[in-house]
Symmetry: C2
Subunit: 120 residues, 2 copies
DNA sequence: TGTTGACATGGAGTACACTTCAGGGATTAC
DNA sequence: GTAATCCCTGAAGTGTACTCCATGTCAACA
């Protein structure tokens, strides 16, 4: 699969795909002899993971660290778990804060709509 | 209330407080004759709102627009509601994406822990 | 009256995550 | 064979949200 095809499949720019690779949140993608990327199933799984995690807001450097641990072999299993758990906690906290903000927005919206109704 | 006191009360730097004001997500704070900020109850409410919304990830420019509409008077009620609803939708979507990422993280963590158990 | 310390402003600097660009190969279409 | 198209890399540029800095004012205290 070419980089353009991957780009279209996941709705992400080719520049971003190359950037993700350079940043280390996707391991080096399989290439042909002339150096052109040819994404294999495994590459695509990394792409997918990177995109999901970035959409949720996980920082590049945490993801890069995770990828590096993966490439470093089986000894790094405990560190990988710890890293994932830390990131999970951050997501949990962020979700909480979004929930609180939504409650406040809802209250404001409701008040405004009451005022609008009474003003007709 | 001085800017330092507000900073301590909300756990945010004085630089950020001044920046928020300059960026327009807090209306111009009450000052004494020599130009020093003296936060009143109303100012504090704006500060609180700005901090909550920023923590949830609402962009500066959306908040600035909301503040501007507020200062522009009663005619802007419908636009304010619309703006708040748009931002609410964005938060909803973001919360959704965080939820999905958490599910994936959970699956990975679980797999790792099984592998770790079988490796002892 | 001189020094200290909190606060002011405008502007430069930083961190993060892309995004764009310049300059070059390799393939394909004619 | 050459023009068009797709891809490559390294480096510079951009947008967002702060964060830091130089310089200056002002009130209070020794």
């Amino acid at each position: 699969m070419t980089i353009t095809e991957v780009s279209e499949k996941y709705g992400i720019s080719v520049d971003t795909l190359r950037y993700y690779e350079k940043a280390g949140i996707i391991p080096r993608v399989t290439r042909n002899k002339s150096g052109i990327r040819n994404y294999q199933e495994e590459d695509l799984q990394w792409v997918q993971l990177a995109i999901w995690m970035r959409r949720a807001g996980l920082p590049i450097d945490a993801l890069a660290k995770y990828v590096k641990l993966n490439l470093a072999g089986e000894d790094t299993l405990p560190q990988r778990v710890e890293l994932l758990k830390t990131q999970r906690l951050d997501l949990e906290r962020q979700r909480q804060e979004i929930g609180e903000a939504m409650t406040i927005l809802d209250r404001k919206i409701q008040k405004y709509e009451e005022r609008l109704k009474n003003n007709t």
